[in-house]
């Protein structure tokens, strides 16, 4: 029952990674899979194509981990040094693996080509190690064992290209990670929109204590504050889920209406939830954008399948476009200015009206603001943005926000907040959102 979790380390190898010419996406993917398998990831490391650096990192990590997964450096060229480095870290010598030579030869044969002599080096493995078949490329993986102070660590070396690495990880590494009867690690994410990260933390209070199980942490990504809950001390899956359920209940109790989703799409949770809610109701949305110039439409179409619910929209960057395309009355523009509540509402209602000729929409979102750095005034400083929603049932909602952080941030916050306002409507909740200054917040 108290067998420890497997501790794992991830080592990415390659000059292009260490120089920052390429972003390493493999390590995050592997870490996620390891965590799902209840392993505890302790460190990710990236080193360049240098035998001493690679072997050194392997030995150091082997001192603190049960399993190391390495990616990269298994190609056929002079700067692919993972094979030699693993042998060095194991205190072993390289030998040619007959099976691998055959596998590489037949990989080329399948493409009507002969194996270039340069690829033969890819069949080398430490004499006490194993080759791991790679069905999607020429580079076999390697498995070996490094002993440090009498303690053994399993090392797996996989090729860098994700479409070769991932299936090899799934079939050849994952089975090693699971510990029957050990502790079970399960995680849950709760996504919120509308509060700042510090306010979320204040409300969560002692739920975020570092010694609590499940452990609760937060991260903020483009306005969405995600609470990550991690149960890691339970002997069974059922008990882990009980702990997660109880934490979820407490979190929802303290955060209320700003919680909009559990788990799901971690990269774009708000977009994905809004699309899902619309799709579930068979409703469609149009947008009318001024200062965001298309960013809201771009967000709504970032995920596949948005054509079910997104009709299109109008980029009315100049006043003439607002007037002609959306029918915003000239006198509203001249009396209140383009960044005003009447104009934001007129844009939203105008978009809803204009969409009727194209099949009709159920909701329209409009954004008009001062993204800066120029264009601000005393009454409407840079960062002032009116966002309006109008819906086919006759309801509407217009709010003034003050966003900071420069042009790009003001635009990002504007678009994501418009999505957040639509989500409030779809979930039937009303709450002020971060940055809102009008209507004034009651609490």
């Amino acid at each position: 029952m108290n067998e420890p979790q497997r501790t794992c380390a991830i080592l990415a190898i390659g000059d292009e990674l260490i120089l920052g010419q390429k972003t390493d996406t493999n390590s995050a993917w592997i870490a996620d899979r390891m965590t799902q398998r209840s392993a505890r990831v302790v460190e990710h490391v990236t080193v360049d194509d240098d035998e001493r650096a690679i072997a050194g990192a392997m030995r150091r990590l082997a001192g603190g981990a049960d399993v190391i997964v390495c990616t990269g450096g298994l190609g056929p060229t002079a700067d692919d040094l993972t094979r030699r480095s693993l042998a060095q870290a194991m205190g072993d010598a390289l030998v040619e693996d007959e099976g691998s030579v055959e596998q590489i030869r037949s990989w080329f044969a399948g493409r009507g080509r002969e194996m270039p002599e340069a690829n033969r080096v890819q069949a080398l493995r430490p004499s006490r190690g194993r080759s791991l078949p790679n069905p999607n490329g020429t580079a076999p993986g390697l498995a070996g064992r490094i002993e440090v102070d009498g303690r053994g660590c399993e090392v797996f070396c996989l090729p860098g290209p994700p479409r070769e690495m991932r299936p090899m990880f799934e079939t050849q590494v994952e089975p090693v990670l699971a510990f029957e009867g050990g502790r079970v690690v399960r995680t849950r994410m709760l996504h919120t929109f509308g509060l700042g990260e510090s306010e979320v933390a204040r409300r969560l209070g002692e739920l975020m204590a570092r010694d609590r199980d499940p452990l609760v942490g937060t991260t903020a990504t483009r306005g969405v504050v995600t609470c990550r809950v991690r149960s890691q001390a339970s002997p069974s899956e059922a008990e882990a889920f009980r702990g997660l359920d109880e934490s979820e209940r407490l979190i929802c109790e303290r955060l209320g209406d700003v919680v909009f989703a559990r788990d799901g799409n971690a990269e774009a949770p708000l977009e994905s939830v809004v699309l899902g809610l619309l799709r579930g109701r068979g409703e469609r949305v149009v947008v009318a954008e001024s200062c965001t110039g298309g960013l809201l439409g771009e967000m709504l179409t970032r995920l596949a399948g948005s054509s079910d619910v997104f009709l299109g929209g109008w980029l009315t960057y100049c006043n003439e476009m607002k007037r002609v395309q959306l029918g915003v009355p000239e006198d509203l523009l001249s009396e209140f200015g383009a960044v005003s509540k009447p104009v934001a509402l007129a844009m939203a209602h105008g978009a809803l009206r204009a969409a009727q000729t194209a099949g009709g929409a159920d909701h329209a979102l409009a954004i008009t603001g001062v993204a800066g750095p120029g264009g601000g005034s005393e009454g409407k400083p840079v960062g002032s943005v009116w966002i309006a929603r109008a819906s086919g049932d006759g309801t509407d909602d217009a709010r003034l926000f003050r966003f900071g952080g420069g042009r790009s941030a003001v635009r990002q916050w504007s678009a994501v907040t418009a999505l957040g306002m639509l989500r409030l409507r779809l979930d039937g909740v009303r709450t002020p959102l971060l940055g809102q200054i009008e209507p004034a917040q009651d609490d």
Copy 2:
């Protein structure tokens, strides 16, 4: 001349990174900037929000690097432990930094809010360290010095959000990296659009030799391949510039019409050049977007001052919007499909026509394609995109592209390629662009 390079290490901090819930893009960005500054990056490491792990990694890396840059863990919540970890690694205690309290307070005041008490913890710094101002967020950075075996290492801790971290790195870390030792280092960038990075490298040939001075390297960012030329062995500025001029001449000779700008805005060179060319001619542009959903408009408005030249546009995601808003004839849609040359051209001409009521535009760009992952067919596989330009002088241009890399990449390439097509028109050059399959390329 032989002064050693600065050696650098990068430490990313965060549970969400170690668990693989989020991909670390900061480390690659920092590594790239360090490399451009002639520093040698030796290792990237990621650890979780754990004081012992963070402090341990800092001390270990300090043993082998002159500079460590850390990101993350500076937020206001209980799981933000970078401040305490740095103090521990320095053998120091935390004190409150008066200036930082004021900065955080005024950051909130600028948004019409009071500083939550929770944010006060962000003003802590090691007593022998410094706070680094953060103009774009509440978290100040930290700078300190770790001594290991009598050897000092400068440590910088920056916040995790890229839009806060990047400007702080540029203004507060980069100056520490340069080791010029009497040599004059001058750099130049030449931006190209239309060729892949490997083709640029092939044409540059021996100009990219690693021992050449000036040194020529390439980086690719969202379709723009930038040649970075770096003169670093000249005794005088005049001589450095002579070397840069000569390299520029050779590069332009080999790359031809795809070079569109020198130096200028490194973050958005193509957007900035297109806006500048339009502004110089007093011309205006509108957009008609289908599969990109607003991304092209968003790119055109990313830089300040775009209202001089960008009128607005139409997001015609569904066919009805194409028909009603842009007047694309029904029979073109049914005969050729939405992703076709006639429809792309009809969208561009329709946008130009519709803009007349709003003051008139000189150019229209239209994009219609299959971004995927669904929606592909044998004749029009995922990644097929028609991009059209129509101009007020009666000229037009329509090209079919095949882009790879998934939905997001297809959309990015589509929008940036539309900008690239407009740039060709404004510069009066004609050349095939990367990914173009129709009209077929002659060369």
